[in-house]
Amino acid sequence: MTTQTILPVNAEALKALSESKQEPTWLTDSRLASLELAGQLELPKLEKQRIERWNIQSYGEYKESKKLASLDDLPEQVAKLVEGSREGGLVIQRNSGTVHVSLAPELAAKGVIFTDLETAVKEHADLVKPYLHQALKNDEHSMAALHAAVWNGGVFLYVPKNVEVDVPLQAVMLSDDAEATFAPHVLVVAEANSQITYVDNYVSDSLTAPVTHNGAVEVFVKNGAKVRYASVHQLTGEVTDVTFRRAMLENDASIEWIVGEMNDGDTASDTMSILKGNGSTSDAKIIAVGSGSQKINYTTQAKHFGKSSESQMITRAVMREEAQAIINGITKIEKGATKADGQQTERVLMLSPKARGDANPILLIDEDDVTAGHAASVGQVNREQVYYLMSRGISRTVAESLIIYGFLAPVVSEIPLEGLRDQLQGLVERKLGQ
């Protein structure tokens, strides 16, 4: 059965918008070609869930965002997020467009580029064009195609060869107007032997109608470069969040994904590292709390092509109330990727009899000379442990929350950024209703 995607925009309007923004012709053409594909391709397949039943039609329309005169004009929630973390660089997108861009002069002097993607396609086309939509191709499925057609705002982060940046660069993607298309695209290019940490937050505020977030992240890590990519999604229940993250790794390149899935609405995310290069490494840590009647589908993937490439994927998810989560891990080792090592663990803790959690570890291995492993579990709070804690005078509520935080702690405590760790801790508390 073909599910026809209802396109939120027609070709004329898309062309007119692109031209009115004075985008380069190659981009206008790419958007139009992608829109056509979106009309032809199937929706992405979710394991055991049907995305066509989700609200994936609420794109709204492009609305120009007013640049911020000052960071004080931000909604309080966003202002808090960026407090004390502005020194490296900060990009803020509000609905369909970017409202703030800043980068420390000393980083700019080293050749680091940190700006919104709409500006970058004009000012740094030579650096953007070879990468845009190359890790997540517009013909993968209709949502990828639609994203490539309508993306807006976004982030472009470029780190030149041998440049090591030790302060995190930060972005905030805010949706607070349900009528505006919200489709940021993040593109990171880390040249050979460079190092960077990037952190973003997806937030929403005072929405009065449903919003579909169709987002994409592409990270290119060149020989010997290291990228740490942290992303926290805390979108409110009105937002259906569909996000694809892809990293392409060259020889000895490494990526560390740290993802906090703290949305209140239906969420599908797919975080994939493509280990092309020999000796490349990927480490993905996902922590998640599902609540309400959320439908959730998290996938982490590692595709090994390079010899001696290594991947590690860990997901820990807590599901309460009636949240329904499908958690997939896919380790694929291609023929020729000798001495590759792929490990994955998915653990789900269920807090209510109505919650559902499914962990699906998958190993697909086409090479003999490799090591790979997986572990998965779905369980409830252990009664014996609750008894033990209570026998020391700790109340049931506190005992259970100690156990729940303890379940997430092995991942949270590994997060190398203190501010992010605290933020996640706070979000977990909020999601657990405490």
Binding site: Y387, R392, R396
Partner: protein
């Protein structure tokens, strides 16, 4: 008021099977009682039923701590009332550090707004750990996770020392301990002896009782206390084993469930 702990006709079942068949025991602050008996006679069941383990169902009897009905209380309330059980098999809890756990336990007693200061807590904990010759690193380890048998036992004693209970039940605190560790743990217990505190020491060896002298010794078989006496009873058990008691009472199988 001096502590008074009374167990009266306590019966308990697990999964429908009656294990405790009417336990009677009375303890006062300052007293040390030992419960001895071979494996499978219901000693741990008694300890668990007193603490309120959810798997055990109390079907009859009374347990009073200073005239308060313990069996009416939730597990945490029993602890707050002054009951402490050093478990034979303490749980391992990943992700919860020993010190966070201990601090939560102490604060549960102090109540909201009256939490112990971090500095004071750390000083107390480090002091007690030193007495127990525990590596300070254990404060930051996850609760009992990857602890050896002996380390878990010391950790139970550490909790006892920090929580200052009225009635202490030690379930096989000596099992898995070498002589040095046994001495350390016994010293910990002896240091806690007080007129306000009663001890119920469960063991199937007499070994521990060389270090902690009991005032009363009770022998448990088939889910009952079948014999009580003074410290000399433990010594006779050490010398002669349990067979003479079985003979005296006409018991062939001392474990629970075979006596019907």
């Amino acid at each position: 008021m001096s502590t008074k702990f009374v167990i009266e006709g306590l019966k308990a079942t697990i999964e429908g099977k009656e294990i405790l068949k009417g336990i009677n025991l009375e303890m006062k602050g300052g007293e040390i009682h030992a419960i001895m008996g071979p494996n499978g006679t219901g000693k741990s069941t008694l300890a668990s039923a007193l603490m309120g383990h959810p798997k055990y169902e109390v079907t009859d009897g009374k347990v009073l701590l200073n005239d308060e009905d313990v069996l009416d209380m939730e597990v945490d309330e029993r602890a707050l009332a002054g009951l402490f059980l050093a478990m034979q098999y303490p749980s391992e809890i990943a992700g919860v550090t020993n010190s966070d756990f201990l601090r939560s336990s102490i604060n549960a007693r102090r109540g909201e707004g009256n939490e112990i200061s971090l500095i004071k807590f750390i000083r107390q904990m480090e002091g007690k750990m030193k007495e127990l010759e525990m590596n300070p690193e254990f404060a930051h380890r996850y609760l009992n996770e990857g602890f050896s048998g002996g380390e878990k036992k010391r950790n139970e004693i550490l909790q006892m020392m920090m929580l200052d209970p009225k009635i202490v039940i030690l379930d096989e605190i000596d099992s898995g301990l070498d002589i040095d560790a046994l001495r350390i743990v016994a010293n910990g217990v002896n240091a806690m002896k007080s007129e306000k505190r009663g001890f119920l020491i469960i063991t199937h060896y007499q070994r521990l009782l060389n270090y902690i002298t009991p005032d009363y010794v009770h022998v448990m078989m088939q889910g009952r206390i079948v014999k009580s006496g003074g410290p000399e009873l433990a010594e006779r058990l050490e010398a002669e084993g349990y067979d003479w008691i079985k003979e005296e009472l006409g018991i062939t199988d001392e474990t629970v469930g075979q006596d019907a």
